[in-house]
Amino acid sequence: MLTTARFWRETPQRYRMEAGRCTSCGKVWYPPRRICGECKGREFETVRLPDEGTLYTYTVIRVAPTAFVDQAPYAVALVDLADGTRIMCQLVDCEPEEIELGMPVRLEFRRILGEGEAGMLAYAHKAVPKR
């Protein structure tokens, strides 16, 4: 179930790709955290993740959870962004057979899913091949 508060509080991360960079050790955490897992630092500055990267690994979901059944098959990927941060997202605008590990991708803001006719819509970034 999409509940308003759950989605609203992730907005900065999902809509603006905001991460937290530890001011002590420089490690970037996505989503942001309260304490740095590397150095135990507690201070972070907000950084916007780069919107380009390369494909680290992926899969094509053919048996989907109920909410995503209409979209299947669809690819989901781990993308290594230009600053070294790795994120999970869908990989769209390409056929499964076009996908190759290491291929360059760009992040675009897209719709993740909609709930019924008058329900909520959820958005986030998806990767598309850079051509």
């Binding site: 759950r6 992730e10 996505y30 989503p31 680290y56 690994t57 992926y58 899969t59 094509v60 979901i61 053919r62 048996v63 989907a64 959870p65 109920t66 909410a67 995503f68 059944v69 979209q71 669809y74 989901v76 990927a77 781990l78 790795r86 994120i87 999970m88 997202c89 869908q90 499964p96 590990l101 993740i112 899913l113 959820a122 986030a124």
Partner: protein
């Protein structure tokens, strides 16, 4: 710290059991374990369950099963570490006995998975991953392991065939296990031709949806020799560890750090290493999992899991038999029950009661249970007392 022994083990029926409820399944397994132990009563219960809420709209599992076993007011606590819930329950039960708080403790696990449909089960299981940064994007558990498989294949050259051979071996073993949910043998061709779930994993790479429960009775070793019906099995090592819940935070997607850390602790406690094991049960929720767990346990070098399976090293009669029970793949995988069902198999082997799948002269075994994509792991080492 006191030495702890397993003196009884039991399973319920496992399968797609529409006529059986969660409470009824656990009671069946528990009564079997208590009867196997030959004891009159137990002092406390620890029960693993991953998501009674999402699968059966029922929480408060400890009190529920104590009630239906007719043993209230003894204390009963549920533990949850996703699919490692029963492994965590077992470790907690050991600490309850170790500490002198309790002597005879019932431990087990249960999951009732078929009260929801396939999409509902996929969504319930996704609660073991990062709901906001994994499940949110539509990725499923087969999908997460598929990404790990592809990374492993890219880094080490693990082949699609090697993955398939894990399923072939485990169904071969399961065909010798009267408890197995899917005891049929499968061929490599059948695995490679089965329907795709999440590339490159196919349905025969995946463990099934199972209703079922498991149980064991543990007590201090010195008491075991007096009260148990059968020869006690000693628990010599116990380890548990965690890793990042989401795959995107892992330093190396191809290595299960939590299993390696849990194993290091268990080996250290038991004073042995991977070369000293006679039989091993691992968490083969997917075929790639078994290969990666073998590497994390040190049964083979990093990247050598696939070739070892191909060479038959982990088959019955091989260098180190893995998942003689048939594993999660063939025996079934009621997620919250699996950890203690693995203990059941190791105890059965160490007692020499494993029938056609018996590893001759087995004296030391290991059980590895895993939650999520390896964010939780438990490792236990058991030995003939």
């Amino acid at each position: 710290m006191r030495d702890v022994a397993v003196i009884g083990v039991g399973l319920s029926a496992w399968g797609e059991l529409w006529d059986r409820s969660l409470r009824d399944l656990f009671v069946e397994a528990a009564l079997n374990a208590v009867e196997d132990a030959g004891v009159d009563s137990v002092e406390a219960i620890f029960v693993g369950c991953m998501t009674g809420g999402l699968f059966a709209q029922q929480e408060h599992i400890g009190a529920l099963v104590a009630d239906y076993l007719g043993v209230a007011p003894i204390p009963a606590t549920r533990t949850e570490s996703a699919c490692a819930s029963a492994g965590a329950a077992f470790r907690t039960a050991l600490m309850a006995v170790d500490s002198g708080n309790h002597d005879v403790v019932l431990v087990g696990g249960v999951e009732k998975m078929t009260d929801v449909d396939g999409g509902g089960a996929t969504a319930a299981l996704a609660a073991a991953s990062d709901q906001e940064y994994e499940a949110f994007h539509g990725v499923t558990f087969p999908g997460l392991y598929a990404m790990m498989a592809r990374a492993h294949m890219a880094k080490y050259g693990t082949t699609r065939e090697q993955l398939g051979l894990v399923a072939v071996k485990n169904h071969e073993n399961g065909s010798k296990n009267p408890h197995a949910q899917f005891p049929m043998k499968v061929t490599l061709e059948q695995v490679l031709g089965s329907v795709m779930v999440a590339d490159p994993l196919r349905i025969l790479d995946c463990s099934p949806i199972t209703d079922g429960a498991s149980a064991a009775v543990v007590c201090p070793l010195e008491m075991a020799e007096k009260i148990a019906k059968k020869a006690p099995v000693r628990v010599t090592g116990s380890g548990q560890a965690t890793d990042s819940i989401a795959l995107h935070q892992r330093k190396d997607l191809t290595f299960l750090e939590s299993t390696a850390a849990a194993a290091a602790r268990a080996y250290d406690m038991a004073g042995c290493g991977p070369g000293d094991l006679d039989v091993v049960e691992v968490h083969d929720c997917f075929t790639i999992s078994e290969i990666m767990v073998m590497e994390a346990l040190g049964l083979v070098e990093k990247g050598q899991g696939g070739p070892a399976v191909e060479a038959g090293e982990t088959a019955l009669g091989g260098r180190i038999p893995v998942n003689t029970s048939g594993g999660l793949k063939s025996k079934g995988h009621p997620v919250g029950a699996t950890g203690v069902a693995q203990i059941h198999e190791i105890v059965t082997q160490l007692r020499g009661e494993a029938g056609d799948r018996q590893v001759a002269g087995a004296r030391r075994g290991l059980a590895q249970n895993m939650g999520g994509t390896g964010a939780s792991a438990t490792v236990h080492i058991l030995e003939v007392a």
